[in-house]
């Protein structure tokens, strides 16, 4: 087929692609061009092109900032702890849901367990405050009614860390089960029947049939999580955090927002963002490479 015949046949498909491609070029590649702000002494009056080149001066400045290292440490720390606590939770819950025999109870439980995923961080922040507050929070009311001293869940940095992790589990554990449950529907029921004949108990079947069948999913999700170690959402630490616990709650994304949008140091903030994006890319590709080698699983 020559070109003009080809286009006459397929022109509608290409027409459909025009707006989406324009969207990606403008709103995704446009900001990539904007990264050159990191190498310029940017100010609004001169614009991106008019501002003066400063080479790597801004990088030197950022790498000399104590706050940069603190937020980098916090990002890695919060993500690592979150991986330890939030990663296994959906796996356990999914297996327990899978073992439930009463269909209606299973369905209702799932529906309810998914709900927190659909709640905004602003609302979760409001709820956290009401549940974990020192003076009239539900948890502390309970603790003090038992005669213990109230725990400053929101104002002491170590206690805040616990709050941050609990909230993470609460928000994501139920939703995380979906992908495991999807994988579980693929198990061949005959395996369980064969195990019954061999006299295997319930736990034995979970250990020898259910868990192994989830292994590829677990490995893939683990890789994705490790690959995202340096990426961190803005809303969760920003909203659950507060000035009293900034030592722990200040992460790369809130740091970028603070020095960039709030203080107007656009060049420095862009440098931090670029650092995060590049290191993040290396993490993701590295995790993918390792998983291909070790587990024969890959995401890309």
């Amino acid at each position: 087929m020559n070109m003009s015949v080809y286009l006459r046949r397929y022109w509608q498909l290409y027409m459909l692609l025009i707006l989406p491609v324009a969207y990606f070029l403008i709103f995704k590649y446009g900001p990539m061009y904007g990264i050159i702000i990191a190498f310029k002494d940017f100010n609004f009056f001169q614009g991106i092109n008019g501002s003066e080149w400063i080479g790597l001066d801004a990088f030197k400045e950022v790498f000399a900032m104590a706050d940069f290292y603190k937020t980098l440490r916090n990002t890695l720390m919060l993500n690592f702890l979150d991986l330890l606590v939030s990663f296994p939770a959906p796996l356990f819950i999914a297996i327990m849901l899978y073992e439930l025999k009463t269909a209606w109870f299973k369905k209702i439980s799932q529906t309810i367990l998914y709900i927190p995923h659909f709640i905004s961080w602003v609302i979760i922040g409001g709820i956290v405050y009401q549940v974990f507050g020192t003076q009239s929070g539900m948890v502390n009311n309970f603790i003090t009614s038992l005669g213990f001293e109230a725990i400053p869940f929101l104002t002491d940095k170590n206690d805040w860390l616990i709050t941050y992790l609990i909230v993470g589990v609460w928000q994501s554990a139920g939703w995380g089960t979906i992908i495991y449950l999807a994988a579980l529907t693929g198990i061949n029921r005959e395996l369980f029947e064969a195990a019954d004949v061999d006299g295997a108990g319930r736990l034995r079947k979970i250990w020898s049939i259910t868990l192994p069948s989830l292994k590829p999913t677990i490995v893939t999700l683990l890789i994705i999580n490790v690959g995202n170690m340096i990426a961190i959402g803005f809303e969760r630490p920003y909203i659950i955090g507060n000035t009293a616990v900034r030592d722990y709650s200040d992460v790369l994304s809130t740091f970028v927002y603070r020095i960039g949008i709030e203080s107007g140091q656009y060049t420095l903030a862009t440098v931090v963002g670029l650092f995060q994006a590049v290191v993040g890319l290396v993490f993701v590709l590295g995790a993918n490479y390792l998983s291909k080698k070790l587990a024969d699983q890959s995401i890309i």
Partner: protein, 291 residues
């Protein structure tokens, strides 16, 4: 016999454990609802946990009589509906051609799109772009930058590719153009996925906060989450400051009012959610296969 008994006790323990998880999931909501319906006195004395004490609807009548709150709700509904429709139109427009593996240039376009899943300009360059386009403090700033999620697009592509070719071919023989086939055959067949992705886009917009914080400055343009943040969170920070001995400047809102506002912003999602829930499990499964 002993095996059966062991299996039964496993079932009982398992059911109870799930029940506990479910209750842990619900408890914070019950608490917030109770707070919103209780008297200030009983909240302050710590009597309220999972059930309202000295029940009254004052907080709700205050929320509903607050003009700025109602305007904020109206704005957010319009924003969410418009955004979701635009997202779906754009995502379908991208996914349908890209589902055709034989289309020339398909690989290039996919490459351009996939790259954006792994690398982005970052917060500041994105802010700069929105600012340079003159979109600050407008509804467009909250809609245009997020029109297509590559991940959802891939889910839709996978779904389109699973529709039997014969359906399209027979339409083609009948003289249907690609556009017509898309509108009258493909889209109706894809309603479950379209519903799922609409829920995801819609909830994302409804819950979106970061971009509203960056792009919206005039209070009459505040979407619900930003409004709520001002009400609940700024208050919380100033209360913490009060606790630490500093003087808070903001007027402290009563707990019940904050709780009622939180419920006010949650209810719309809770209304839509059960309708769409049955769809999204299959949607996520589709994504898991190739995503």
């Amino acid at each position: 016999m002993r095996d059966q008994q062991a299996s039964r006790s496993f079932d009982i323990v398992n059911t109870i454990a799930i029940l506990i998880f479910v209750l842990l999931c619900l408890a914070p909501f019950l608490h917030i609802i109770s707070i919103s319906l209780s008297s200030t006195r009983s909240i302050m004395s710590g009597e309220v946990s999972l059930f309202p004490v000295e029940m009254n609807w004052d907080a709700y009548s205050k929320v509903f009589s607050d003009q700025s709150m109602i305007r904020s709700l109206g704005f957010t509904i319009i924003l969410t509906v418009l955004f979701t429709i635009m997202c779906m139109v754009m995502t379908i427009a991208a996914a349908y051609p890209l589902a055709k593996t034989k289309l020339k240039g398909r690989k290039l376009v996919m490459f351009i799109i996939i790259i954006t899943m792994f690398f982005s300009g970052g917060l500041i360059p994105e802010y700069m772009l929105v600012r340079n386009l003159g979109l600050l403090d407008s509804m467009w700033a909250l809609m245009l930058p997020g029109l297509i999620s590559p991940f959802y697009m891939i889910i839709l592509i996978t779904f389109f590719q699973n529709i039997p070719d014969s359906l399209e071919e027979s339409a083609e023989i009948d003289g249907s153009t690609y556009l017509r086939t898309l509108v009258s055959i493909i889209v109706p067949l894809s309603l479950p996925v379209i519903a799922t992705l609409s829920l995801f886009y819609g909830v994302g917009r409804w819950n979106g906060f970061t971009d509203t914080l960056m792009y919206i400055t005039s209070p009459e343009m505040y979407p619900l989450q930003l409004k709520l943040y001002q009400l609940v969170q700024n208050n919380m920070v100033s209360e913490l400051l009060v606790m630490e001995g500093a003087t808070g400047q903001a007027k402290l809102q009563p707990e019940s009012l904050k709780a009622a506002s939180v419920i006010f912003a949650t209810v719309p999602i809770m209304i839509v959610y059960p309708w769409l829930q049955r769809y999204f499990v299959s949607g996520v499964m589709l994504g898991a296969v190739k995503g």
